[in-house]
Point group: C2
Chain length 345, copies 2
DNA sequence: GTGAAAGCGCTAACAA
DNA sequence: TTGTTAGCGCTTTCAC
C-alpha cells in the first residue's frame, strides 16, 4: 500500500532495522545514513505512527477531559496544554464527559486501550471522594486541574483563589474600607469556596466583620440583585465580587442607585475576563493565569510519563491583582463614621 | 503483558478470530458468545486500539486545527465538533498551528502517518490560494470552517455573515433610519469582509448611501474612537458595529457624548457574546451559531470519511438577529430632516 | 554497526 | 459459523 521501511531498506541497500535505527537517532554509518535519507526523500516515506504505537506501547498522546469545553476560560487552559505538549512531541486528544455516555470513571480505559499515555482532568467543580480515590489508586499518570481536596496522593495544579481574594481585602483595607460586602459564588465550584475563605480570613486578619456575605449565581443578574440589596445599607463602602460577571451586575446596580464608582463605593472583581479593562469604570480585578495553568499541568504530566516518578505535588499558581478605575479610597464620611465607632469601642 | 484476544480465546475455548468477530458484532453462536463474554469479564480484557488502527488503517480520529484556540468562540466550535464526533465513535485530536514549527501544509502528513482519518481546518482569517489548492487537490477528507474563497472543490461550513448584516440594515431601515454608519472589522478576517458587503448591499437595496464606513480593529477601544468620530455628524441615527466588542466601545462613546441609546442613536452589534444581553442597554446583535458550526463540520467530515463520497458542498449557516434595548426608532427630528432632503432633491 | 528473526495485538482472507 | 494462517509496519533482541 504505502511506502514502508522495507521499501526504504531495499532502495538504500540496507536493512529494515538499520532504517529504523536511522529514524530513531541510533548510530548508523554515515554512508548508510546518506543512502537512507535519499531513499526517504525519493520514495516520499512517512512513518506509520500506529505501528510504532503498537510495538512501543506508547501513544505519545495526552488526554484532556474538561467538564465544559465551551467555558471561555477552558480554551485558554487548552491552549496552554497544547503549547507545551506540542513542544514535547505529544498530541492532545479531547474527551468530554458530556458526550461520553459511559460511566464517569471510564477514563481509566483510555489508558488500558492504548489511547493515551497521560491524562489531564480539569474541572472547576468539586470532585467526589470516590473519583479522587480512583485517581489516587491508579498507576497511570494523571494530573488534576482544580481542587485536589487535600489529597496528597494526587498531582494537581490550581490557582490560589484564597490568596487572590486576600489581596483584594488587603488593598481595600489599606484604602480605608472597613465595611465590605462579599458576593460569594456557587459552593459546588471549589474556587468559589476558596475565594470566600480568602475574604473571611482577610477580614479577620484586620479584625473586621466578615458576615456580610451574599450567595449568588455567577451571572450579571446575580450580581445585580445582590448589590441592590447590599446598597440598602449606606455604610458599605466596598463590594468584593467573586467573578467578573457579577461585578458587571454590581456596577449596573450602583449606577441605577445613583452611586458613583469608585467615589461612593468601590467594586472589585475576580477573573480579569476580556472585557474587564473596558467596562466603565474599568474593573479592579484578580487575573487568573489560565494559560499557565494548562502549561503547568502539561509539564507536570509529561514529567510523570517520562520519568515514571511517583513524586506527587500540588501546585498553586499565584493570581495577579490588577487595580483599575472601579476601586479607590473609601468615602471620607464613612471613614469618620468608622473612626467614631473605633473610638467608641 | 496485558490481556489479549488470544487469552480470551484460550479461556473461552474458541479462537482468536471468533473473539474478534464477537467484538466486532459479527455472527457468533450464542454459546460461544456467552463464553467469550464471561472470559472478557473474568480477565478484564481491553482492546488495543493501536493494533486495530494498524491493521484497519483507520484511526477513528478527526484532527482539528484552529488558528487560535484561545479565541472565545473557538471553544464553542470545538464543543460542537466534540459532541458529534463522540457520538459517532470518533475522538478529536487537536493541533495548533502555532506550536507546529513545521511548514504550513504539514497537515497532510497527519493523514499519511495515520494520525487522523479526517481534518477540520478552522480559521477566521482568509486562507491563501496555495493552501486552498493543496486542500482541493488532496484526496483526504477535509472540511473547512470559514471562507472557502469560492472554491467549489472544497467542503466548507461558514456563517452567513453577509445576510446577518443585511438583516440589521433591513431592521434599521424599517425603523426609520436613513443615515447609518458602519464600523468595519479587519479585512484579513473573511467574516469582516462579508459583513461589510452585507452593509453595502443592504444600504443600496434601499437607495441609501453606504459610504459612511470606518475601518477599525475589533476592540472596545477601536469602536470607541470610531464612534466618537462618527458622532461629530449629528445626522447619523444608527451605527452598525461589526462585532460586540466595538459595540461596547460605541456605547461608551455615546454615553460620553451625552447621547441616549437608543433614543438619540441606535447601536447594533454582531456575535452575541456572553455579555451582550447584560450591557446597559442590552445589545441588539446578530447571534452566530458557533456550536452548530462545529457540529455541522464534524457531521460533514464523518460523512466524507465513511462514504468516501466526493460530493463537495459549501454550507452557509444562518445567523439569528436579536433585538434588544440598544436600538429603536430613529429620532423624529432626524426623520424630518431626511424627509426634507428627500423633498428637495 | 548491521541484518535476521521474532513479535506487538489485531483483522481478514481462506478453507473447513 | 469457525479455526488456521498470513500479514498490518514497526522495534528490538540477538548473533555476527
Amino acid at each position: 500500500m504505502s511506502v514502508t521501511i522495507i521499501d526504504i531498506a531495499k532502495d538504500s541497500n540496507t536493512s529494515k532495522s538499520t532504517v529504523s535505527r536511522y529514524l530513531n537517532g541510533s548510530k548508523v554509518k554515515p554512508v548508510a545514513a546518506k543512502a537512507i535519507e535519499a531513499s526517504i526523500k525519493k520514495l516520499d516515506y512517512h512513518q506509520n505512527v500506529n505501528a510504532k504505537r503498537l510495538v512501543t506501547q506508547k501513544s505519545h498522546t495526552i488526554g484532556v477531559i474538561l467538564d465544559d469545553i465551551s467555558n471561555v476560560y477552558f480554551s485558554e487552559i487548552l491552549s496552554g496544554i497544547q503549547s507545551v505538549a506540542g513542544n514535547q512531541g505529544y498530541v492532545s486528544t479531547f474527551y468530554s464527559r458530556a458526550s461520553d455516555h459511559k460511566r464517569e470513571t471510564d477514563f481509566l480505559s483510555l489508558f488500558r486501550e492504548g489511547h493515551i499515555d497521560g491524562l489531564i482532568l480539569g474541572t472547576f467543580q468539586k470532585r467526589t471522594p470516590q473519583e479522587l480515590e480512583i485517581i489516587a489508586k491508579s498507576e497511570f499518570p494523571i494530573v488534576l486541574i482544580g481542587d485536589n481536596c487535600g489529597s496528597n496522593r494526587i498531582n494537581s495544579v490550581d490557582v490560589d483563589n484564597k490568596q487572590g481574594t486576600m489581596d483584594e481585602v488587603e488593598y481595600l483595607y489599606n484604602h480605608g474600607h472597613r465595611k465590605i460586602a462579599y458576593l460569594r459564588g456557587p459552593l459546588k465550584i471549589s474556587g468559589a469556596e476558596f475565594r470566600a475563605q480568602g475574604f473571611i480570613e482577610g477580614m479577620h486578619k484586620h479584625g473586621l466583620d466578615s458576615s456580610l456575605i451574599l450567595d449568588i449565581e455567577w451571572t450579571v443578574d446575580g450580581g445585580h440583585n445582590a448589590a441592590l440589596q447590599i446598597l440598602q445599607d449606606a455604610s458599605v463602602t466596598a463590594i468584593i465580587c467573586s467573578n467578573d460577571y457579577c461585578a458587571y451586575g454590581a456596577l449596573n446596580a450602583c449606577r441605577q442607585s445613583g452611586l458613583r464608582v469608585p467615589e461612593d463605593i468601590s467594586i472589585v472583581a475576580f477573573d480579569d475576563g476580556p472585557l474587564a479593562k473596558f467596562s466603565i469604570p474599568a474593573l479592579t480585578t484578580v487575573k487568573q493565569p489560565f494559560k499557565q495553568l494548562g502549561e503547568t499541568a502539561a509539564r507536570q504530566l509529561i514529567g510523570m510519563i517520562q520519568e515514571e516518578s511517583p513524586v506527587k505535588a500540588s501546585i498553586l499558581l499565584q493570581s495577579q491583582f490588577i487595580v483599575r478605575a472601579s476601586s479607590g479610597a473609601a468615602p471620607a464620611q464613612t471613614n469618620l463614621e468608622n473612626k467614631g465607632e473605633t473610638y467608641g469601642s
